[in-house]
Symmetry: C2
Subunit: 167 residues, 2 copies
């Protein structure tokens, strides 16, 4: 392994260097807007921020479907086979009447939050400890700092792993 | 809303039409290979298949980090700040000594499995019921059928939601 590669990757790179833009909502965002954001950004979830743009939670995309699909269909998905386009229209319309606040699960998954100068291995430890595929990175330190972006586990692993052997 | 759009989307489309290739491992795959697959495919997890290529579990990417990072660092991620490149090399090397079987959590998240002719709303119901951002699609029916591909929640939502209003 080229030692310069390793030094460049882990010795210098900080959370701020790895953070990329991530779609956000607030607790007051309606569920239809949240659903559209998921599809537009090809993400499995959204980051929920407060009025200061500080990250407070993660909204798993499946929560959007839980509010859309009636419980009798969740209990027996085969019942969904007979549902028609009119049904789909009505559940989509109903999304606009719900807010993210209603969707964030009570036993919400923890969204780890990193400071901009945290190291790659610190972020790895946060993901491991919280079983989270995502870490939010703050733009500045201190309580209430706004969101700079987020780091996904696959990007982080790419920084830690040695280069794949070339054959 | 254009009714032709709705009919095309929900009335005809089946799971087989939405399934896309998804990276897989077996229980015997080593953890280093699994980690590389996560980074190469930009996925938060992997599908675990048996010797018949039948999907049996999902491996969240964070499990790879849990086996890499010592528990004392997971308890206090700030301790990772002092870890150096040599440490990173050693934990990466140790990955090759573990298998996926060791990484799949005991309280493993459920991977919903769909038949190829399941409808969009059936898949939505499965995701909602299992709080899963992913559904595996079988290539054929019956126990032990091999994996055709997988459907992500953002692709599925894109099929259910009405087109965004154009301004």
């Amino acid at each position: 392994m080229d030692p310069r590669w390793r030094t460049r990757t882990l010795g210098v790179v900080q959370a701020r260097d790895l953070a990329v833009a991530y779609p956000t909502v607030t607790m007051d965002t309606d569920a239809l807007t949240a659903a559209r954001l998921l599809t537009e950004h090809n993400r499995p979830g959204l980051i929920v921020v407060d009025e200061r743009d500080h990250p407070v939670a993660v909204l798993p995309g499946s929560q959007v479907l839980r509010v859309m699909m009636p419980s009798y269909v969740q209990d027996d998905p085969a019942l969904a086979r007979v549902l028609d386009e009119g049904f789909a229209d009505s559940i989509c319309a109903s999304l606009a009447e719900h807010t993210v606040k209603e969707l964030v699960p009570k036993d919400r998954p923890v969204l780890p939050v990193a400071n901009p100068d945290d190291t790659v291995l610190e972020i790895a430890a946060m993901m491991a400890a919280n079983r989270s595929p995502l870490v939010a990175v703050l733009d500045g330190k201190g309580a209430g700092a706004p969101l700079l972006g987020a780091i996904s586990i696959y990007d982080l692993l790419g920084r830690i792993l040695p280069p794949a052997p070339t054959s």
